[in-house]
């Protein structure tokens, strides 16, 4: 199905009725990106492009029997005057989106250097660790939990974005508190081994 849509788009680009985004003059042209059920169409902001896009989507609906959910779709303008965007959105019947948007589980266009960007991740970790169910876990259990759960949750974020030092500190302190203090938290517990030692490989005395 997705292949069909891709073919339609490619054809439109070849016939020059849909103008994609040119990275540099005469270079690679991007018109659409697809991954699983996510589709992203990229192009110049022109009336012609909108007509083509609408025709392609409608044609795809007719051919495949699938329907585009315009409530889930949105149009995002980059350096486009707002009145054009408004008309375009009413023309395509979809919402107007703004720049940090979710694509494949990550926020596109967000600034990874701001601490706020990482808040959802930190919250996720905190929820995982400091939940009721983990109240009576022993030290050994906490180590396993930290190793398995905590190290796998952020990987997707970390594979794309550089984590600011402040957030690293925050997460390490979360990990440390959980390791030594458990869920109860509250009063400060003693950390018996320094964190850099904890992070060593197990053969060298890490955990």
């Amino acid at each position: 199905m997705a292949e069909g849509f891709s073919g339609l788009m490619r054809n439109a680009v070849d016939r020059n009725i849909f103008k994609g985004f040119e990275v540099k003059r005469g270079g690679v042209t991007l018109s659409h990106l697809q991954y699983a059920d996510d589709t992203l169409c990229i192009g110049k902001a022109s009336v012609e492009n909108l007509w083509t896009l609408k025709a392609i989507l409608r044609g795809f609906e007719l051919v495949s029997g699938l329907k585009v959910n315009f409530h889930k779709s949105c149009l995002i303008g980059v350096n486009v005057p707002p009145d054009f965007m408004e008309r375009a959105c009413s023309f395509l019947n979809c919402r107007q989106g703004s720049v940090p948007f979710m694509y494949l589980g990550l926020l596109v266009g967000d600034n990874p250097r701001r601490v706020e960007t990482w808040e959802p991740l930190v919250d996720h970790l905190r929820r995982r660790l400091f939940s009721w169910g983990n109240r009576y876990i022993s030290l050994g259990g906490r180590i396993v939990l930290l190793n398995l759960v905590l190290n796998s949750i952020p990987i997707f974020y970390l594979s794309l974005m550089k984590m600011p030092a402040k957030v690293v500190k925050l997460i390490v302190s979360l990990q440390r508190n959980f390791l030594w203090g458990g869920v109860m938290g509250g009063r400060r517990r003693l950390c018996w081994v320094k964190w850099s030692k904890v992070c060593q490989p197990r053969l060298k005395g890490g955990l």
Binding site: N147, N151, P154, L158
Partner: protein
């Protein structure tokens, strides 16, 4: 326990690795169009890239090695010679642990073709490989021995 900062750095370094190895992929073409063909080199010079057009993601990737000085990526990556057309004879690490221009500085200074690729220099004759060097002058006998 893993150090989350190191995990981050290694995962981001994978992008650099993929830039070196994955030829013909769309995202690499996009990057090459935007920042020039230099993106696929081992030592990316961020000086040539205007910082106003570079995305934060790219800037972070460039600063991965701590910025300035010798990048650790260069010293850790070894060339595997295929047809030898992408491997510099003197300046890439392919034969031994060290680049040949550091290992044999005297010969390197004498060679006329300092940017030659392994594939251009080597001539397959019979079963072995012969090297066709071009020197600035004829070598002394003791220099010949070091070859």
């Amino acid at each position: 326990m893993r150090d989350i900062r190191l995990v981050n750095i290694s995962l981001l370094a994978k992008w650099r690795w993929r830039l070196l190895t994955k030829n013909g992929s769309l995202w690499k073409n996009v990057l090459q169009d935007k920042y020039g063909d230099g993106v696929a080199a081992l030592e990316v010079s961020s000086g040539g890239i205007r910082s106003s057009v570079a995305s934060n993601w790219w800037k972070d990737l460039m600063k991965l090695e701590g910025g300035g000085g010798d990048g650790w990526l260069v010293t850790e990556v070894v060339h595997k010679v295929g047809d030898g057309m992408n491997t510099s004879f003197w300046k890439d690490r392919w034969h031994s642990e060290e680049v040949l221009c550091n290992l044999y500085p005297r010969l390197y200074a004498l060679s006329t073709n300092k940017n030659v690729m392994v594939g251009e220099l080597g001539i397959t004759s019979g079963e072995g490989r012969d090297w066709e060097f071009t020197w600035r002058r004829t070598l002394f006998e003791w220099e010949r021995v070091t070859l």
